[in-house]
């Protein structure tokens, strides 16, 4: 288990050790959340690397990662704990067969830890050999309001109450990272218990750096063109503009096709990697793509000329 970072710079270092290219704003809020033990609420479009932060954190700090993937109707039984009914049944039958009829005792036996099935949240509250785990509550916006309300207790006191067993409180609070794609607004009461950060699309420089770290096989010229192209796409009115994840996928795909630079045909062939709506693809495919490519080439040309001066 690695020690928690002691400054913003150390946090930035920690992230870059985990091959995560973060800007200073994210490092600051992450450092705050780590040192004051408050959940980190990350909101942003899909594919901007929110989930990745939790993974990198668990990896570099040597903690275990407990992931709770949210969906509508997620309830306490699948998020916190459930009893192992089959084993409980067997236990009841066995005690009946043995003629042991002390009901009080039986009840205490049946609702004990050994029949408890831990789900992610309870697991995250338990003592862990690696230190308090990283609890990733992914895509919270997919759950419904009742679950959100339930989370309030967990997030402010880091405890859950099991009627038959009593309250389970974390010896040390876990590191909590909550992500949301903003398909609906999360209630303010929950956000108040967290540090909030909007994860935006990266700048050109940062995205290029991400590409160099994560897709080192892509040719240098190709990487630059890919990033420029994607950045241009993000300025166009599309139903879903590509995220960083798509940029990486695209660079990979083009590298697989042995491309060292963008060319119109290759763009049209691989556009599906980048854009996820047929309408968007139809809009960009062909002349629009060619136009963007020409623009990029022009830009790169003038920049090279300026540099050589």
């Amino acid at each position: 288990m690695a020690a928690l970072p002691t400054s913003v710079d150390a946090t930035q270092q920690l992230l870059s050790d985990g091959r995560y290219v973060a800007d200073r704003s994210l490092s600051t809020v992450l450092y705050l959340s780590l040192s004051l033990g408050r959940p980190l609420f990350l909101e942003g479009e899909a594919g901007t690397g929110k989930t990745e932060i939790a993974k990198v954190l668990a990896e570099t700090l040597g903690r275990s990662l407990v992931r709770l993937q949210c969906y509508e109707g997620l309830d306490v039984a699948s998020a916190v704990y459930e009893w192992n009914y089959a084993r409980q049944m067997v236990e009841i039958r066995m005690s009946e067969a043995a003629g042991d009829r002390d009901r009080e005792q039986l009840s205490a036996d049946i609702f004990s830890e050994q029949f408890l099935i831990e789900r992610p949240i309870l697991k995250a509250l338990r003592e862990d050999v690696n230190g308090p785990p990283v609890l990733l509550i992914d895509e919270l916006d997919r759950t419904d309001e009742p679950f959100e309300a339930f989370l309030l207790e967990v997030l402010s006191d880091f405890q859950v109450t099991i009627p038959e067993l009593g309250t389970v409180k974390a010896p040390k609070p876990p590191i909590v990272v909550i992500t949301s794609n903003r398909t609906r607004e999360i209630h303010d009461a929950l956000k108040r218990r967290c540090y909030y950060h909007w994860v935006d699309y990266p700048t050109y420089e940062r995205e290029l750096e991400i590409l160099r770290v994560k897709a080192p096989n892509a040719a240098d010229e190709l990487s630059q063109q890919v990033v420029r192209f994607v950045q241009k796409l993000r300025e166009i009115d599309l139903f879903k503009v590509p995220g960083v994840a798509e940029t990486l996928d695209w660079a990979d795909a083009l590298t697989q096709l042995d491309k060292v630079a963008l060319e119109p045909q290759a763009i049209d062939d691989t556009l599906g990697v980048l854009l996820k709506y047929q309408d968007d693809i139809a809009k960009i495919e062909g002349s629009e793509a060619r136009q963007i490519l020409d623009q990029i080439k022009q830009e790169m040309h003038t920049e090279a000329a300026r540099r050589s001066l």
Partner: protein, 413 residues
């Protein structure tokens, strides 16, 4: 942003607390929901991160004070104004505040006077006009009860008093929507799925040899409802009533989102949440700038698709599109936008006030573009049609298709 922060804030914690308090107050005045507890929180955060770097301070306070994306711009401006020189901002605020106060007060007073005047005029001499109008309806009132006349009367021809009555009726209107099954369960008496948790407890209680199985069943809840209403000139009389309808629906149930559009789309859900309908509509009036102007249905629906659809249609929403289908843009891009809207919601219901005319045919370019993609097509011009709508919404999706074919044939003809 790496230059040092204003010298005032270096002078020990005392100044820092003071400055943070002032800053929090500034943010509150600017409209951010900053409670008193936030200052302490901010102080703790700032002490943790340190104030060596201006950008660290920025992001630290950002993490504490901002809770939504739309607050970021406001915070950004306030921060840069304040931490450059808190005194300037203080002075600016002092200079501005009293004036704002006066302006708002006066505005309110004027508004109150206006309303009182209106009320007075409605009761006394102004009644003449109304009686004249009512005479036209006299034959009707003789045969039906007052209630029934109102129910079938076109919103466009209603007098003010009737309008008031209609508003009240709308307020009491219930909206039983077809329920969706959720993945949550509750205890049930009839056999369905076994509720093992309760069964186990019952088994322990009974103590006899057999285990009485307890049951559970899926709970149901109404799907989210999204109302998109046209407020352009041609809809003027209806949209007022429809806004009352929207307000009634919004306060009646959760998971309702309301939008209005003329030349641009505005989300008015937040304003409609206000309990008092007059206040709510007043707020809407202030917020919406394109009342009774032209219509750009295609562009507005497209912007809905792009900005809102993934946020409000996620969980199987029903969409009520309220428009007469008369489009200034010659229905440009409308078909594409409606098609996408239809694909991303559970059912799309088009409410059209023009349906009240017996010979109405969906022949305008707008109507032709919308028609192929709607699941139901209904009139919305009087109370009765609104009540019909309420009942229609209670039916499961799909059943509503009936009757739509005739309209679609008309479009194709």
């Amino acid at each position: 942003m790496t230059d040092a922060i204003a010298p005032e804030s270096h002078a020990g914690d005392g100044r820092l607390v003071e400055n943070l308090t002032l800053f929090a107050r500034t943010l509150r005045a600017a409209g951010l929901p900053v409670g008193p507890g936030k200052v302490l929180e901010a102080l703790r955060a700032v002490q943790t991160v340190g104030i060596e770097r201006r950008d660290d301070l920025y992001w630290t306070l950002h993490a504490v004070f901002v809770t939504r994306r739309d607050q970021i711009a406001l915070f950004d401006q306030a921060f840069h104004l304040f931490w450059r020189n808190p005194k300037i901002l203080d002075r600016v605020m002092q200079m501005l505040l009293p004036e704002f106060q006066v302006a708002a007060d006066e505005e309110e007073k004027r508004e109150r006077v206006k309303r009182r005047l209106q009320e007075a005029m409605q009761q006394a001499p102004g009644e003449q006009q109304e009686t004249e109008k009512e005479e036209l309806e006299l034959d009707a009132t003789l045969t039906w009860s007052q209630q029934d006349v109102l129910r079938t009367k076109d919103f466009e021809q209603m007098s003010n008093a009737e309008m008031e009555q209609a508003k009240r009726a709308i307020r009491d209107l219930e909206l039983p929507l077809d329920l969706l099954r959720t993945r949550r369960y509750r205890a049930a008496r009839t056999p369905g799925r076994a509720d093992m948790r309760r069964t186990m407890r019952a088994a322990l209680r009974s103590g006899s040899g057999d285990i009485p199985i307890q049951w559970k069943q899926q709970t149901k809840r109404p799907p989210p409802l999204v109302l998109i209403c046209d407020i352009s000139g041609s809809m003027a009389q209806y949209s007022r009533m429809v806004l009352h309808f929207m307000h009634a629906v919004t306060s009646d149930r959760d998971r309702v989102q309301s939008f209005v559009f003329g030349t641009r789309l505005t989300n008015i859900t937040h304003y409609l949440r206000h309990k008092d309908v007059d206040k709510a509509l007043e707020k809407v009036g202030e917020e919406v700038t394109d009342w009774e102007g032209g219509t750009r249905i295609g562009a507005c629906l497209e912007s809905f698709n792009r900005v809102w659809s993934r946020r409000v249609l996620g969980q199987g929403a029903t969409v009520l599109l309220i428009t007469d289908g008369l489009d200034r843009d010659n229905a440009e891009g409308l078909a594409r936008a409606v098609e996408r809207l239809h694909k991303s919601c559970r059912q799309l219901i088009w409410l059209n006030p023009l349906l009240r005319y017996g010979g109405y045919q969906p022949k305008s370019m707008g109507a032709k573009a919308i028609m192929p993609y709607v699941d139901a097509f209904r009139a919305v011009h009087n109370l009765e049609s609104l009540e019909d709508l309420a009942q229609a919404l209670a039916k499961p999706a799909g059943v509503q298709q009936e009757g739509l074919n005739r309209w679609q044939e008309m479009v194709e003809a």
